[in-house]
């Protein structure tokens, strides 16, 4: 049986842990609201751009001369998995869910005899992937220096990916991130980003549209931008998901700490009472003996 002093110490330490988790929960709730509105604000741009890409792509016959970002390299040998994680922990299974999805995909691709490479965004998840695929990480992007990932970061990531692609380092790229459904639900999502998947919604070309400059040139300028937008969208979804996951995890932690405290307090009170009772018995027994 733990001594009274030990129990007191444990109660205090659980109490201070609870304070931390509670603070983190409130911070996450505030940040979530911001991240969510940022993710929503980015949607009009993404959907308009997707519309333009769709209508352009439906007009162009994919040929040798069309941009490589759309047509692909003609091979399917090397796959790049771009895994977007957060920089911070204390957000439940958020990061491990994303990494798990990426690992499953990597295993499936390797079983098909494809080569798998990784490009990691964010600090978390690096260690796990490095342990499992020691030589497969060809690049990474550090987001620890900025408070929240924005368009500038998406720009840099996209530029680096396009450079790697042009250098022939990979043929297909998949992006892994967590899609934000609600504060309670975040879905690890996989999305092919290179070559740009042909948009499904082929807009009915009812009117003749003039292009300036030529279609091919516009498409060549538009595809990197489209890629950037998709990465940007993923980063924003990730940010919102992280805060959502963090909020839920910290809420649970706070509640668990509360349960633990009440359990420990009961135990503390009982042992204290037991000690008093023993003392009393000793005194009475001593008095009777006289």
């Amino acid at each position: 049986m733990a001594s009274l002093k030990e129990l007191k110490g444990r109660i205090n330490s659980v109490k201070s842990t609870q304070k931390i988790t509670k603070a983190k929960q409130m911070v996450a709730a505030a940040k979530l609201r911001k991240a969510q509105s940022a993710a929503e604000a980015a949607r009009p741009y993404a959907s308009r751009l997707a519309g333009v890409v769709a209508s352009l792509a439906s007009r162009i016959v994919v040929s040798e001369s069309s941009p490589k970002l759309l047509a692909g390299t003609g091979k399917d040998a090397v796959h790049l998995l771009v895994v977007a994680n957060s920089d911070r922990g204390l957000c439940g299974a958020f990061n491990s869910n994303i990494v798990k999805a990426a690992r499953l995909k990597a295993k499936a691709l390797e079983a098909e005899g494809k080569k798998v490479q990784f490009y990691l965004i964010g600090r978390k998840g690096r260690a796990v992937i490095r342990r499992e695929f020691p030589n497969a990480i060809i690049g990474g992007f550090d987001t620890t220096t900025v408070r929240e990932a924005g368009y500038g970061e998406a720009d840099a990531i996209a530029a680096e990916l396009v450079a790697l692609y042009d250098a022939g380092k990979f043929d297909v790229a998949h992006l892994f991130f967590s899609r934000f459904r609600s504060a309670l639900l975040q879905e690890p999502t996989e999305q092919q980003i290179i070559p740009v998947p042909a948009p499904k919604s082929a807009v009915a070309a009812d009117s003749v549209v003039e292009y300036e400059p030529e279609e091919e040139e516009i498409l060549a300028a538009l595809l990197p931008r489209y890629l950037k937008t998709q990465i940007f969208g993923a980063l924003l979804e990730n940010a919102a998901s992280e805060q959502g996951a963090s909020m839920t995890a910290m809420d649970n932690a706070t509640r668990n700490a509360g349960d633990l405290i009440s359990k420990l307090t009961i135990q503390y009170n009982r042992s204290r009472q037991a000690a008093i009772t023993t003392e009393l018995i000793e005194i009475i027994a001593g008095a009777e003996a006289l």
Partner: protein
């Protein structure tokens, strides 16, 4: 007689309003868009978009960096990389 004009950046929807005319800095020259313009898609250079609220009003200038302008029967959409200033 109004043109539906939208200016969108990755960060947010900046404008969505009815205007008289918009002059866009296309990469192959500036062009003005009035209501009923033929469908048109152009890349745009860094520069200023001039928004004319009404026929004689002084233009409102919005500096943008790079992007696309799309004219559809529904109106004009400018997809700018970012706002300058």
């Amino acid at each position: 007689m109004a043109l539906h004009f939208e200016l969108v950046t990755p960060a947010k929807l900046v404008r969505s309003e009815e205007v008289h005319m918009v002059v866009v800095p296309g990469s192959e020259g500036e062009f003005g868009v009035l209501e009923g313009h033929a469908p048109f898609l152009s890349t745009i250079a860094d520069g200023t978009v001039k928004v004319y609220k009404s026929e004689n009003a002084a233009p409102e200038e919005i500096a943008i960096a790079g992007g696309f302008a799309e004219v559809t029967p529904k109106g004009l959409t400018v997809l700018a990389e970012k706002l300058v200033g």
